[in-house]
């Protein structure tokens, strides 16, 4: 397990920790700066977790609200991004539980139709010659990769997003997800294997791997 740095060390090395300390001291501009720095990053991760853009935006704002509410008792005990994504993980988990209770499990994004249908629909269009092939390839790939990620279980998906988009170390991911680094390693390894199984047919011969949504 990684050694714990003192609060001073995080304050010295992490500019976002310093900003958060300013928020603690009442600097509204510092809070807005943090929002600007992290809004896209949070949205990207949350959107892939919950599958809906508008919900992800709400959750992003919820995360910032919780950050602001926690400002007075904030003490740097980790990198700011680790702390922030821990909150995001909790918010996303709550949201998924609520969605499950409401029987509104939409894993895929709603904008371009269902994930499995979109790449297939575009392949059909390409076959009819109505779409430029180059654009079709990119869109099709995107749809299939998105479907492959959506087919991961929640923990694998979170670990993948934090590793890929946030470039977090196993130790940081472990802190966000309340796991051990070894568990994170296992999780990511299985996630890579799942992604490989889902994507390799597409890479090898252009065949839609027939990913089905849970």
């Amino acid at each position: 397990m990684t050694g714990r740095k003192s609060s001073n060390a995080y304050e010295r090395h992490d500019p976002d920790v310093r900003l958060m300390l300013k928020v603690r001291d009442g600097d509204a501009g510092a809070f807005e700066e943090l929002v600007i720095r992290y809004q896209n990053r949070l949205l990207a991760v949350l959107e892939h977790l919950v599958g809906k853009r508008d919900l992800a935006e709400d959750l992003t704002q919820e995360v910032f609200l919780r950050v602001y509410r926690a400002r007075e008792r904030y003490t740097p005990g980790a990198k700011f991004s680790t702390w922030l994504f821990t909150i995001a993980n909790n918010v996303a988990s709550n949201a998924r539980r609520t969605l499950a209770r409401r029987r509104e499990v939409h894993v895929e994004s709603s904008r371009s139709g269902s994930l499995s249908a979109d790449p297939l629909a575009q392949m059909a269009l390409a076959a009819s010659g109505q779409m430029p092939n180059r654009q079709l390839d990119h869109a099709e790939t995107r749809g299939i990769v998105r479907a492959a990620v959506a087919n991961l279980n929640e923990r694998q998906r979170m670990a993948v997003l934090l590793s890929k988009f946030e470039d977090m170390s196993y130790a940081d991911i472990a802190e966000v997800m309340k796991l051990s680094p070894q568990a994170v390693k296992s999780l990511l390894s299985r996630a890579r294997g799942s992604l490989r199984d889902a994507l390799s047919p597409y890479i090898q011969d252009g065949k839609n791997p027939g990913i089905t949504n849970p």
């Binding site: 090395h13 500019p15 976002d16 509204a28 809070f31 807005e32 929002v35 600007i36 720095r37 992290y38 809004q39 896209n40 990053r41 949205l43 990207a44 853009r53 935006e57 959750l59 992003t60 704002q61 919820e62 609200l65 602001y68 509410r69 918010v91 709550n94 949201a95 609520t98 904008r111 371009s112 575009q122 109505q130 430029p132 092939n133 180059r134 990119h138 790939t141 995107r142 990769v145 998105r146 990620v149 993948v160 590793s163 890929k164 988009f165 470039d167 170390s169 196993y170 680094p181 390693k185 296992s186 990511l188 390894s189 299985r190 890579r192 294997g193 992604l195 490989r196 994507l199 890479i203």
Partner: protein, 500 residues
Amino acid sequence: MNESNMPPKDPQKIDEEITAYLDGELTGETLDKIEKRLASDSVFRARLQDLDRDWMLLDELPQSEVNQNFAATTVEMVAIHEQHPDNGNYGDSAGQLIQQWVFVGFAVLAACLAGFILSTALAALLSACGLLTTNNDAVLENLPVLENLDKYKLAENIAFVQAISHIDYFSNTPTDASNTLPAYLDNIAARKAHIGRMQPTEKTRLLNAQEYFMDLNVDEQSKLRDLHQQLVDNPNANDLNNALEQYYEWYKQLDPREHVELRIRSGNDRISYIRTLLTRPQTVKKLSFTRRDLEVLLGWLRRTAMKHRVALLRGANQKEQREIQQLSSTERQRRLATLLWKQWRKNGILQEPTFDQLSYIAIKEQLSAAAREQLDKQSSVDEEVHLLLNGVRSRAMGGPIQKGTRNVPGPSAQRQPSPEQLKDYFKRLPEQKRAQMKRLSREEYYRELLRGYYRDQVEFRNLRPKHDRKTNLGPTGETNRTRRNSKNRSPINNDPPKKQ
């Protein structure tokens, strides 16, 4: 982590070690063992390539961006919640929230539905009568111009585009399918379908382009529309569009001073200046990238840099190490990619322990056909990679200069002012101007400072572009508002404007 002396044989364990290796988590003896096995075991190596290749496909996932008001609405929302702390949070006591709001929700929904039906019917009626033009109609109408707005803004007129198409550098690159004018934009239905297929980030960019376009005066809008129409109608439309695309890609890699020089010149003067820039040694051998090529290459550089971050940091001086430690994760990646880039340019690639030929081959497969063709013409892998590195020069350096760092100087960037020069220039400004600049955001302050410094240096006070309020545009045409929401904008200097 697995600290056994022998590499694992269990497939799951093997995958775990490969994953940890790819994620840069292995150190010491374990790392040595895995690397030795990679060098000698082709099956093991193939497995690594499989896992890495599929992982890299995750780069295809769209990176969502918020709209430009998101930060403001978030801060406002937080302020409102602070005033009314009893408002429930999403997910907290969800059952109670549902009970409290379900009746209100139904009532609001019914009212909204009625209003929606009424307004939609009214809008349809007015649209049918030609009395109402919505923003969506404007986007549909201007779509071909909006999608090419960044390029069209760089072109004065069709004569300029024709002139650059006669320059070998912009015309010798084989026409790429993505550089042809798309035929499906000919009618409104096709345009609607095209927009419908867009990702959220693409739609956001389109809306930003629409907003910028609508802010222009009528003459400027007409000029851009006319340019588009002249390009479409030209018998050599595809060649002209290709040349303009190549010019745009080349323009993005220039430094800010060269952008200014290009903007203040026109006609033959501008063409001459372009030829002058092109004959500089570092631009003679340049690979033409598509946007996707650049994304692939930059992603590869950053991943490789992160994998070898310990070694790269060890090679940096103490000051640089301290600076890098203070950066956020994304900024650190960029900075490490810059260090890697410098190292690869300085040493022979094949002698570089950080260079993995297998991963380079995998990356090359993901590049466009045009880029691969040009790379295949080189006589060695070393030359191929140097050609690639020349092409990603400005991107690998991380774009805007990060806090607490110096911009890594490229050949033309050596003329950029030092922080001391900028400070001296600021001190020489009139009191009123200094006070005005101090009221700007940090980003705007440094942008204005740099612009003023260059104006002072090149003495073109009287030749400032007509629409000065639009000169905040960067090479990709982003406005200040768009840039404010971009996550990686930092000032040139780490000193904020000092209050006096």
